[in-house]
Amino acid sequence: MDELFYFIIAKYNYWAALVLLFIGLFGMIVRNNLMKKIIGMVIFQTAILLFIVSIGVKRGATVPILKFSPDKQPLLDATAYANPLPHVLILTAIVVGVAILGVALALLQKIQRVHGTIEEDEILEDMRK
């Protein structure tokens, strides 16, 4: 029991990220509405970002901005700061996500104008004509 509890506590971040990931993937693949696909995409991407940021967490660590002692010397103990590298990666990935969101929404507006709908099956029907 204790073992199980420990297992859950020690890994739940990965679990949550993976659950969110598959919820998002479900939305992207199975939902018929294109807007839902986009929302699924947002969730999917954030889940991955969550997964990667959670790599950088260290027990008892603070934000990765150096602390200074009163005589202006930086405190350079690597275990006292969270791992900065995943944060950097995720900053870049968030920006990429916003960019893709903008493009997807622009395409959505165009699809509505051309096909008159944003339901996938109706669009396919319209394209077959």
């Binding site: 603070t62 934000v63 602390k67 165009k110 104008r113 051309v114 096909h115 008159g116």
Partner: protein, 126 residues
Amino acid sequence: MNLEPFFIVMVVAILFLMLCNLYRVVAGPTVIDRMLGVNVIGIKTTVLIVLIGIIDGRVEMFIDITLAYALLNFITTLAAARFYQRISQPAPSQPEESLVAPSAGPEVKEAKAPEMESDAGRKEIP
């Protein structure tokens, strides 16, 4: 006096309240109700970030995020309000659905126009 346990209790309590507020976001019934719920969650987020900062002991690193929320949080609400002010005007003689559709015509033509121009060679087939 060490106030840290007190702050932790506060954080968890606020989170529970947030969970309750989530009911309004999930259940609606209208979009502006959801918007209201999101707004309230946003304000609670602001407080929570400050409290996390205090617990961490470096609140000055967390303040900027809160200030950003304080300044930006109402843009979304404002946008939603604008959106509804816009579509609440009596639609000119057609149902809302068809307000969107008519532009499909010219758009398709616009997209096809380049093809029509591309017949430089076609004319010469006898």
